[in-house]
């Protein structure tokens, strides 16, 4: 007799308002296997898993666990069906101890005393079984992210999960930590547990999974046995056509130094040093790329240069002028453009109409009104020019920005920053969550800007993007610049540097 699959999803459908996040999904995962799900940002991976975990309710469809149709009405139901999930954004109570977090929802009675004692024992057991060691009395917010993730896994295992879902677990991990995680996943599989691993890193999929499904725009477009497929095939399936992230560009002809950063040290809001004594220069007519795993200080570096975050020490010069501690408005006047990493929270004011977003940061400019006043007509005309030039759709400057798609929202930001003709442009994650057509368009504009003699600093966690655009590449790890390479450096070397392993 064939063993029933651990999970069967049949015809799962889910809409968030106008967004069709999951379209008629069918998926089968065998017991005792590691199943990968890949897909671009916004493809619907998290949504699908959250439905399986009972966090969201599907609009229609059926779920079978070990062959039994199961109605998962909330996470409690999922937990009792043996499902555990480690969310993309951790679901931990920061000011609780590890122990409190682990027993939350599984306290084993009205009073905590008995539950905590039992949990303490069982954590010991899990530590010896899987090598998952965490101090049960540590307060979560004081733990590094890698440890926090372990707490999440422990939470699931403590509840006796047979099926473990991990949503982009390696996004925040160093390669060493990721390897450790994969070893643990291997142990889990060997003990008969089923693992679903969500990621958009193809290498990870190839390294650890047994089977893999590809999601695109809310649909599962293919499922393969991992050893029957290749990275190239998966990539093509993921984006729906052959990926050619090669951008035509001439070799750079760098001129004067425009941006110079010297011994810069920056802390994040918790007071942790995120940028540690970093120095570099960017010249007119070149793109300097900064590669690194997310969370290694790139965001803080960009924010410091943009004037949003005050550095602890060190200096920033623009055209030889010391600008350390200047506010963003002042820096803009000196010719600094900034395409921020997070368009929803920084680059745009979503409830504003489009035209108002096309002046964000430049609103004090006399072009948009004399003295203290704003001139709506001038603003709208400027916005219309951007819309035409960047093919922003729909071409309506009065439409609420929230009603544009992600790609078009990003174009609004890019248009604003490039068209205000900066001398120096700093760019964070220019194509995150953007569709392939828009990616190409944005990449072309970035190269054109370089060719117009501007200095560009580009931060991206997508190594391919860095390699395609940059003239020189710096690699950041743990807040430090660990090395510089040229654009033709091979992926292997860069990957190792990003892991902090070799120079």
């Amino acid at each position: 007799m064939v063993q029933a699959p651990a999970i069967e999803l049949i015809g799962i459908d889910k809409k968030f308002g106008p967004v069709h996040a999951n379209k008629n999904i069918n998926l089968t995962v065998a017991k005792g296997s590691i199943h990968g799900i890949i897909g671009e940002n916004g493809a619907g991976k998290s949504t699908l898993m959250s439905i399986l975990y009972g966090f969201y309710q599907a609009d229609s469809g059926e779920i079978k666990i070990s062959g039994t149709p199961t109605h998962i009405k909330d996470s409690q139901a999922a937990i009792s069906a043996g499902i555990g999930m480690v969310h993309q954004h951790f679901m931990l109570v920061d000011n609780f101890t590890v122990l409190e977090n682990v027993i939350l929802g599984a306290e084993g009675g009205m009073l905590m005393a008995k539950g905590t004692a039992a949990a303490r024992l069982s954590l010991k057991q899990l530590e010896t079984d899987y090598g998952l060691d965490v101090d049960p009395d540590a307060v979560v917010e004081e733990l590094p992210v890698g440890r926090q993730q372990r707490v999440e896994i422990l939470k699931a295992l403590y509840r006796g999960a047979d099926i473990l879902i991990l949503d982009e677990p390696t996004g925040v991990l160093t390669p060493a930590e990721a390897d450790h995680l994969f070893r643990i996943l291997g142990v889990l599989r060997d003990q008969g547990k089923t693992v679903i691993l969500i990621t958009h890193k193809l290498r990870e999929i190839m390294a650890i999974t047994d089977t893999v499904s590809v999601m695109r725009r809310g649909e599962i477009v293919a499922t393969r046995r991992t050893n029957n497929t290749t990275v190239e095939e998966l990539a093509e399936l993921m984006v729906g056509r052959r990926v050619l992230l090669q951008v035509d560009k001439q070799p750079a002809s760098p001129r004067d130094v425009l941006l110079s950063v010297r011994n810069l040290t920056v802390m994040d809001s918790r007071g942790v040093i995120m940028v540690d004594n970093v120095s570099f220069e960017v010249r007119a007519g070149e793109i300097l790329g900064i590669a690194g795993v997310a969370g290694n200080g790139q965001s803080e570096l960009l924010e410091a240069i943009a004037g949003i975050r005050k550095p602890v020490s060190g200096d920033i010069f623009i055209e030889g002028k010391r600008v350390t501690g200047y506010d963003p408005a002042h820096l803009r006047k000196l010719g600094l453009g900034h395409i921020p990493e997070d368009r929803h929270h920084m680059g745009l004011v979503l409830p504003f109409e489009e035209s108002l977003n096309s002046i964000l940061g430049y609103h004090r400019d006399s072009r948009y009104g004399k003295g203290v006043f704003l001139d709506p007509k001038a603003i709208r005309q400027g916005a219309e020019a951007d819309i035409a030039k960047y093919d922003i759709r729909p071409p309506n400057p009065r439409l609420k920005t929230a009603n544009f798609s992600g790609g078009n929202q990003q174009k609004i930001v890019v248009a604003r920053e490039i068209e205000r003709d900066p001398k120096l442009l700093i760019i964070g994650q220019p194509t995150r969550g953007v569709d392939i057509g828009a990616i190409e368009f944005i990449h072309r504009r970035i190269i054109e800007t370089r060719d117009a003699g501007k200095a560009l600093l580009l931060v991206s966690v997508e190594l391919d993007e860095i390699r395609a655009l940059s003239d020189r590449i710096l690699v950041m790890f743990a807040g430090k610049v660990v090395g510089e390479k040229t654009a033709d450096a091979d992926e292997q070397t860069l990957g190792l540097m990003m892991a902090g392993i070799a120079a």
């Binding site: 308002g17 506010d327 680059g347 609103h363 704003l374």
Partner: protein, 365 residues
Amino acid sequence: MSTASIPLPNWITYGLLPLINLLLAFLISGLVVWIIGENPWEALVLMLQGALGRGEGIGFTLYYATNFIFTGLSVAVAYHAGLFNIGSEGQAYVGGLGAALVALALDHYCPWYVTMPFAIIGAALFGAAWALIPAWLQAKRGSHVVITTIMFNFIGSALMVYLLVHVLIVPGKMAPETRMFLEGGQLPKLDWLMALFGLKLGPAPFNVSFLIALVMCALVWVLIWRTKLGYEMRTLGISRTAASYAGISYVKIVMITMLISGGLAGMMALNVVMGSSQRLQVEFVGGAGFVGIAVSLMGRSHPLGIIVAGILFGILYQGGAELSFDMPNITRDMIVVIQGLVILFAGALEFMFRPALVRLYQKLS
């Protein structure tokens, strides 16, 4: 499927929805009236007659409306910058001190039109001053402005009582109030304006402050939608991170916004102190600062909406006073109930009917 993000046309969001909320508030108030054994319909008619029946009633209605427009603007300006100023009550109270000091100083020497500009400045300055510390605490120390403005309402009240009882009281008089202002410290009534419509104002204290309030509405509109400062306030009100990205100083905008808000609240004192009672009295604000919250919510923080909502509450206050005259069983406190219900339905429960309306709208269109 969630319906929260589906856009509705403006006439529903700004017209129909507030109307439904208002109707519901009235319906429940009617129920209360019925429970205490009076006829809600009769009560409504009496109220409307009292508020709009004669020139005098209209005069009182507009007099109250003037208060509420000032405090409504005060709440609204702060709201645009994402600040919830619950302190308009206290700011208006302290603003009264500014107006009174100017009136007491100048009424011997100047006619009203000379006193008035100074009084406006005095009232606004004192009101703004009372918003200063909560603003600073919010901007620099991150203390929630809601809590600190509540605290400052109480501190302001204690301060004003102290001043009125120990400093400003007329020696030998018992009531804690200043002396009556002379003509030069009194704002003239708008008899002529009423006469244009063929109405007699009678003794109602409807005065020049109303015109000042309308001017402030226009200025606030320009400020919010036509100036760079207003743009910065609105940006900050929606997204603090976007504001910091755009080089908008959080500290500066919070301070300026709260000062403007406090100043507008302070100006409300002109209407009562110089326009009506001609002296500074204990508790003269009488809750108008809190009504401003309801007015701003009903008026969706837009000056036009605030004028409409202000007049509506003026009708409630004047009509309510008349009603309690004619139906002694229904005390003036009924207005407070209605006010609370309006805030509840138009503010806290604003999303209650939205999903149903969205469905209906989608079906019909």
